[in-house]
Symmetry: C2
Subunit: 401 residues, 2 copies
């Protein structure tokens, strides 16, 4: 059917309204996904549709068997890097969770998860037909997950259903406060019960060093576009050798007439997954990612510095566990909210003020609290952000100590 010409004009010259070169972008979910130069070259080279499939091996016809570009090797290196047995790239971290849930459970089973889990963890469980049992957090100001409670929640599930949970999920670093949970402690509990332990490393793997074996993880899921300098959509699914056969089990369906079978295809992946551009960005950035996780401590120092500096504005306070152990930061900023109440642009004044200083990424309209992420900013940029906030505070007569 016809789409009017004037509507089609909306798709010409698609652009972001700022450039990463010109602006400092503090967007909490974007810092770890900024492409490397290598990835920018690779995405153009493999931009066309199925271009990674030029050398798909005809017999298996599987993405993970392709050696040019070196996808097969990449899967091995990815598993090594994460301290796991087997790795696959899937379309999203949430898809990785769904795959793990689906293949580790039966309809009606339960997964025990932390109450700071991302919405996609809940929905992946729902689509897999699972119930959820939440592990509480301490509430304000720390929102600390009570990790020891994983054991009693497992017992509760057993008492209520007569069956152990199908899986235990921990969000390694949560999306709301950037708290880093002690994964090893949960791994120990899950392992003691013999329950598969799924560690959601969407905000950790790719920017922090992760050793799944040491943490006792059976499944690590992560997000390439969140933390691996890759384009969306890319998820990572890394498995212990012992669980990989179950989770990557092959298709067994057969055509009733044709007798066609697809026994080489990994069922829950629906066969091949990321057959293009985002996959090559993940690969092209991988050497830089391997190196950058070694500099994690310095990244944390920058976040702590900025928290300290912002807290010099009277009434501003970081939420979540102190001191910061991650660059994703949640600030409570009541004083800016008070300013917004008398400002003609209301809550948007803060966005405007920051933007006029070439800073973006704080959610437009928010002033009472907001999140930011300093990951990958230089010290000069962090200091520039500090100066900008102090300037704005002073402009509106807030007290800066």
């Amino acid at each position: 059917m016809r789409v009017p010409e004037e509507r089609l004009r909306a798709y010409s010259n698609l652009r972001r309204d700022f450039s990463e070169e010109e602006f400092i972008n503090l967007q909490p979910i974007q810092r770890g996904g900024v492409l490397t130069e290598e990835a920018r070259r690779a995405i153009l080279e493999f931009g066309d549709g199925y271009s990674v499939c030029d050398w798909c091996p005809p017999k298996t016809a599987r993405l993970d068997m392709i050696t040019d570009p070196p996808i097969k090797q990449f899967y091995e290196d990815l598993a090594t890097f994460l301290g796991m047995g087997v790795a696959r790239v899937v379309t999203r971290c949430r898809e990785a969770k769904f795959i793990a849930f689906k293949m580790l459970s039966q309809e009606g089973d339960t997964v025990v998860l932390d109450s700071l889990a991302h919405y996609s963890s809940y929905i992946a469980a729902e689509l897999a037909g699972l119930r959820v049992k939440e592990v509480p957090n301490s509430g304000p100001p720390e929102y600390r997950i009570d990790l020891a409670t994983y054991a009693s929640k497992i017992e509760e599930v057993k008492a209520e259903t007569g069956k152990l949970p199908a899986a235990v999920l921990l969000t390694h670093v949560d999306y709301m406060y950037g708290n880093v949970a002690d994964a090893k402690a949960v791994g120990k509990i899950a392992n003691d019960y013999g329950i598969p332990f799924i560690l959601n490393c969407a905000y950790s793997a790719g920017i922090m060093p992760i050793d799944g074996k040491e943490l006792g993880a059976d499944v690590i899921v992560s997000s390439g576009h969140k933390s691996w300098a890759a384009s969306a959509p890319t998820g990572i699914l890394a498995l212990s050798a012992s669980l990989s056969e179950k989770i990557l089990s092959k298709s067994s369906i057969e055509g009733d007439l044709s007798k066609r079978r697809f026994a080489a295809k990994e069922l829950a992946l629906l066969g091949c997954t990321v057959m293009g551009a985002p996959m090559v960005t993940l690969m092209a950035s991988f050497p830089a990612v391997v190196k950058r996780v070694e500099r994690w401590e310095e990244e944390v120092q920058k976040a702590r510095f900025l928290v300290d500096e912002l807290e010099r504005i009277e009434g501003v306070r970081q939420a979540g566990i102190r001191p910061k152990a991650h660059t994703l930061t949640h600030m409570e900023t009541e004083p800016f909210f008070r300013v917004s109440e008398g400002h003609k642009r209301r809550g948007y004044f803060l966005y405007d003020e920051l933007r006029s200083r070439k800073i973006v990424g704080i959610q437009p309209g928010l002033t009472k609290h907001f999140k930011f992420n300093t990951y990958g900013l230089s010290w000069d940029q962090v200091r520039y952000v500090r100066d900008a906030f102090h300037d704005i505070a002073k402009k509106y007569q807030l007290n800066v100590r």
Copy 2:
């Protein structure tokens, strides 16, 4: 864990071993996925991770609500273009099939599908817990799907299970012979039974004009990287208004402690889907795609011309329905197989000969039969391909009429 430096070198300077500018690429699954210039610019602009989410509306936080870039409008225009009520972009055509199967069925239901369906249709059914009942094809040389049999297969399912099939799936254009099936005929049968009709347009929508309403389709699935000049991974899921609520039904899971709910999120999509680069290529190419489907008849003419010209090589014969109604073409090429038997490179001689003439995309090693796709080639390029095949034939003393 450490990945050795020498292994990391494999990821520097990732390149295809040919360029689309220098070579003619006949790869059967790649012709419809070559990016437009507009898409090449857009993929760089939105290469970074979550860059399409710069203006994610905070309240709904849903990809399909984003107006900058104009994703919301794009979903509307996509639905209009396909003659459907509602459209979503998902990660792959196979994911679109899985979503439709999953949301339209109960565990153990049956889907009736054509026996030329792609493997991913079977696997999507398997993951959704469905059985398959195949509609036969006529076998060589035409491999024509016996469309009227859809009715008797539906009756068979009813007799065997006491229940109508959960869905009927037709592969509009099959991957093996490029036969175009009469979708309207199957739509009529499915509609008469009141069974949802899923039309797999992976090889049709985006290159051929498609009007889902006219064809009686309840669900249209397609592949952006196959047929819409987009990067992988991108799938299209277009729905009739009446089924859209069911297939896009919202999450209803609730945290037992936190009482968190995610009632805005579309369950089977797992919330947001293609949050980046491939999505913007689809959008940037859309105006060109809307125009190119009008030139479909000319594309078919080029395929027919090349078939006629290749059949001048004695013993070469097109497989599938004649004359071609699609550009994906399957040739039986016994004479080239005979040459290969006496050639030191065996089956690879044909690949070598073509490559030395700057033609790629015929599967390396194949000579007895192979597939190609002329979609989007100029007449000059098609004639050049014809000349190359004739040259090679003559070089090996095959008879060219």
